[in-house]
């Protein structure tokens, strides 16, 4: 079974002024890859909807690859750790 890791799907500037619409579009995008809205809700970690558009979700590498090829996706960024300095 493939391992899932958190990835950030970065979509750039917001396409909607309404944050709710933005979040809905994120769920739709995720559902189109993972198969259903229910599964998408389980995998979704964050919806970025105010300052820019994007979402963080748990993906396998092959799912991340599929998302990266969707229209509107600027980049898929693997989650990474940072440290206080």
């Amino acid at each position: 079974e493939a391992t899932s890791n958190v990835h950030i799907v970065y979509l750039g500037e917001r396409q909607h002024d309404d944050p709710m619409l933005t979040t809905n579009s994120h769920h739709d995008m995720l559902a189109s890859v993972v198969g259903s809205k229910e599964i998408a809700s389980e995998l979704m970690v964050y919806s970025y909807k105010h300052g820019f558009s994007g979402f963080a979700a748990k993906f396998t590498e092959s799912q991340a690859q599929k998302v990266a090829e969707l229209p509107g996706v600027v980049r898929v960024i693997p989650n990474s750790l940072h440290r206080i300095q």
């Binding site: 890791n5 958190v6 950030i8 970065y10 979509l11 750039g12 500037e13 917001r14 970690v45 964050y46 970025y48 909807k49 105010h50 300052g51 820019f52 994007g54 963080a56 748990k58 509107g72 600027v74 980049r75 960024i77 693997p78 989650n79 990474s80 750790l81 940072h82 440290r83 206080i84 300095q85």
Partner: protein, 662 residues
């Protein structure tokens, strides 16, 4: 901060300076992405503060041991926490037993409380750390408000996930913060595409596009070249310096010679006691005297002071102190590479740091004396002229490994032995205060200054604020002596150590000219960094087409110029905006880097009521046909009142280099 703000010229006792001219940052909101906050600290009292700024749209969230109604006030106006990204990554819940962490904005680590109080804490008088560094602690903008975004957690010393950081950016942009302060860096080893992976570059791009100044630490991987992080051109990246304060600790030998080490030792004087260096017989007699692998036993050490040598930093001092203390020793002298960041040893055990020169002289005394003895006296605090500020050993250095033409770090600020509020759970705390060192501590100094500038000039862009800070920075100490950079060996600091220099907030408030930028100006950078047109258009929200020939990254309107590969001749342009008196005439003063000739056209800029912006070109010619390392110079515009200095770094690269030369 009991000394740092005076060192930077922002004394509260001086009636006229940027602190007072900006109403101490009143009305400005500083967002701090860190380990949270200890709201009971006196630094966060809201006594005397007016209503919450009207542009605030954020929230204060309750959680474990954090009640929104009582712990948020007119100082801490917002507090939230973001942990889902870290939890999802680890795949198991965080260990929150034994007060090690709280699912709330409450700070278990202390780092976030320290940085928030340095940026915007109110005045707290009569503070010291075990009697040292006595004075008043406060933030750079004592009347600014704090919005706390807890994104770093007490896991392995303080970790934060980029998914959580990005969410905090998203919310902070919505909430209406004016300045964002991030004392956060990436884990080692660096990703080569750190700009993409770390989330900070991405989040900060949108924050800056919406007028929010983003201040980040350069990281603590110095003194090695190309270790600077948070290097996107829209970020204000901060290196750490010391200040004009030291904690000399007398070491008196039996021959009456006294050397001064450095320590945080405030216990009783250790009267004359036997002094030993653990030396073994055999081919490597020094092996037993290496601090991190000290080999001693009770019979050898009981009642004695031990000398050891190390090439490591903090960890070696603490581990050696533990070993000596355990074996019944009464003190430790550590000879190490000079660096001024100090921490006390456990339970007030006297551990004094000296450089190799003094360590070697003490060793020679031991070897040449039948019964060597030593006296260790408590540390004292000295401030002012005898002490010169330096760029800290640990502070990450340029050049920028992602885009060498973008000078990083931008600026330096005090980040060594900074006394500020902390969590009572901080293992180094003394009465709720701790002395910490790092680019983390330097960053909120600049965030506080950015808040003061924002209060004075609400219409200035983040680029204008950054330009004002970079072009007015000090390259010399107040005594007139140049700033050095710690390392092996120490050297005169250059722009890869401290960017423009050490921040000078009083001149930054009235810079005369600024190198301003808007989102469109960053498009050249994005094009040069191989983003395609579609990606840039989505990023900016506007249709964008990169020029077919490819824009020159050298023309980005930064307040610095770095040419990493000068062949024969290069010409670049800059545009300055007059933010001083309408009718002004500025003349260029050129300090060419060694082996180059530099000309500026025009070399006189005449501003009037109608002419606010003027463009000039800079041509740099290589004088010799050789590959060189970097040489440094400057271009300074001056009208007799203002001095607008642009650091200039040039590396000649006639043929493709076979080795990196920094």
């Amino acid at each position: 901060t009991t000394r740092s703000w005076d060192f930077l010229g922002l004394s509260a006792h001086s009636p006229v300076n940027t602190l007072h001219n900006s109403s101490m940052g009143d009305g400005v909101i500083i967002g701090v992405l860190d380990t949270g906050i200890w709201p009971e600290a006196k630094s966060f009292s809201d006594k005397g503060l007016g209503p919450i700024p009207s542009h605030w749209k954020g929230v204060c969230e309750s959680g474990k041991r954090f009640k929104a109604k009582s712990h948020c006030n007119r100082k801490i106006i917002g507090a939230r926490w973001f942990v889902e990204g870290l939890v999802a990554e680890y795949g198991q819940p965080l260990n929150i037993s034994g007060n090690r962490e709280f699912f709330s904005p409450r700070d278990a680590n202390g780092h976030g409380t320290h940085t928030a109080s340095t940026a915007a804490g109110t005045f707290v008088h009569n503070v010291s750390y075990r009697g040292l560094g006595h004075g008043t602690i406060r933030g750079g903008a004592p009347r600014a408000r704090l919005a706390i975004y807890k994104v770093c957690w007490n896991v392995l010393g303080g970790q934060c996930s980029s998914a959580d950081i990005l969410k905090a950016f998203d919310e902070a942009i919505h909430d209406g913060v004016d300045v964002l302060s991030l004392s956060i860096g990436s884990s080692i080893p660096l990703f080569s595409d750190i700009d993409e992976r770390n989330g900070i570059a991405t989040g900060s791009f949108h924050a800056v596009a919406k007028g929010i100044t983003v201040v980040c630490g350069a990281a603590n991987d110095g003194p090695f070249a190309q270790t600077v992080q948070n290097s996107a051109p829209w970020i204000l990246t901060v290196a750490a310096s010391s200040m004009d304060r030291a904690f000399p600790t007398p070491i008196t030998l039996g021959n009456n010679k006294t050397f001064l080490g450095q320590a945080i030792y405030t216990g009783k004087e250790i009267g004359f006691s036997s002094l030993i260096y653990p030396e073994t017989k055999g081919l490597n007699p020094n092996s037993a005297g290496v601090c991190q692998s000290l080999s001693v036993d009770n019979s050898m050490v009981a009642g004695k002071v031990v000398l050891c040598f190390t090439t490591m930093n903090l960890g070696a001092v603490r581990s050696a102190a533990e070993v000596v203390k355990e074996a019944g020793g009464v003190g430790l002298i550590v000879a190490k590479n000079p660096s001024e960041a100090l921490y006390p040893c456990t339970d007030g055990f006297p551990c004094v740091e000296v450089d190799y020169e003094i360590g070697t002289r003490i060793l020679f005394y031991i070897r040449s004396t039948r019964s060597p003895v030593v006296k260790l006296s408590p540390s004292k605090t000295i401030v002012g002229e005898p002490v010169l500020a330096k760029v800290a050993h640990f502070s990450s250095r340029g050049p920028n490994s992602i885009a060498p033409a973008i000078l990083k770090p931008d600026i330096a600020a005090p980040g060594v032995n900074i006394l500020a509020a902390t969590s009572p759970l901080d293992r180094f705390q003394d009465g709720g205060y701790a002395m910490h060192s790092g680019t983390s501590m330097a960053t909120p100094h600049v965030s506080g200054i950015a808040a003061l500038l924002k209060a004075m000039h609400p219409d200035w862009s983040p680029a204008a604020i950054k330009s004002a800070i970079v072009t007015t920075a000090w390259r010399n100490n107040p005594s007139g002596f140049p700033v050095f950079a710690e390392g092996s060996p120490q050297k005169l600091a250059d722009p890869f150590d401290y960017g423009g220099g050490i921040t000078n907030p009083n001149d930054a408030a009235q810079p005369g000219l600024v190198y301003d930028m808007a989102t469109d100006d960053y498009v050249n950078y994005l094009c040069a960094m191989d983003y395609n047109n579609t990606a840039i258009s989505r990023l900016t929200g506007n249709p964008t087409v990169c020029p077919t020939e490819g824009p020159s990254i050298l023309n980005i309107n930064l307040p610095s110029i770095t040419i990493p590969n000068l062949r024969n001749s290069t010409t670049l342009t800059r545009t300055v905006t007059n933010v001083g008196a309408s009718n002004s005439i500025y003349r260029a003063v050129i300090e060419p880097p060694f082996g180059t000739s530099v000309s500026v056209e025009p070399n006189v800029l005449v501003f009037d009521r109608k002419t606010k912006k003027l463009t000039f070109s800079v041509t740099v010619n290589a004088a010799h046909q050789v590959n060189t390392g970097y040489f440094f110079g400057s271009i300074t515009w001056t009208d007799g009142v203002h001095t607008v200095r642009t650091p200039l770094s040039v590396r000649t690269e006639i043929s493709q280099p076979y080795i990196d030369e920094n």
